[in-house]
Symmetry: C2
Subunit: 138 residues, 2 copies
């Protein structure tokens, strides 16, 4: 009872199927991400089991993709979220990259607001001179 090599991680492992269902991706995608070092599930025999860390990372990956970042971009920022990383230099670098990303995202947010306003204005124009009031429920 002195030894406790793997605490209760056991309960926290997810199969590839469960991952696919939960995040709406294909197995191929997960394996691809693993090959790209974005994820690294543990192996039981040959099969993958994804950890809580993997799930967190996948969430960030998909989020990043929706914002138009490449996997390469994403992989660089992901490390920031690994706070068990004790490599000072490495972490320092991650911080810088993260700050850059943050700036980009804030700029993106500003631009997004403009784009939304534009689009709304354009829709309003159309509505104003609208020919036929459409069956519309919002």
């Amino acid at each position: 009872m002195i030894q406790d090599p793997q605490p209760d991680i056991q309960t926290d492992l997810t199969t590839i199927r469960a991952m696919c269902d939960a995040f709406d991706v294909t197995p191929r995608t997960l394996r691809f991400y693993e090959a790209k070092k974005l994820l690294n599930p543990v192996r039981v025999g040959t099969r993958r089991l994804f950890t809580r860390r993997d799930r967190a990372r996948l969430k960030l990956i998909l989020r990043g993709k929706r914002f138009g970042f490449s996997l390469e971009d994403i992989s660089q920022t992901l490390d920031l979220y690994d706070r068990d990383r004790s490599d000072a230099a490495q972490r320092q670098r991650a911080c810088e990259i993260a700050r850059e990303r943050l700036a980009i995202m804030e700029a993106q947010r500003t631009e997004l607001d403009v784009a939304i306003a534009d689009l709304k204005a354009e829709l309003a124009k159309v509505d104003v001179r609208g020919h036929a009031p459409r069956h519309e429920a919002e």
Copy 2:
């Protein structure tokens, strides 16, 4: 005064070089967009001259790209901004698509806010514990 075939569009034409410089894209990109019907510059002989409309569209294209939309996606929404278009059905369709995009963008905005907050929080954590190599499990 009834007829006005080509007003003063002449002064409003841009060469491909000027376009590239102004929008920071390559000639190849502009030709590609033309082939994809996203732009249609007038021709003087064989050379392209981009109109004000082209510039407006290019701006929207690049904007869309930054938000992670595909050219295909973008091409569908672009038509909304053409109000000289008198095809009712076509415009109706454009409106629907635009509304969808709007919803997507608003969702994206919400998520972006979350992502920004997350990232800031993560950066704050790193700052707080500074350089002290404290082992910490969550």
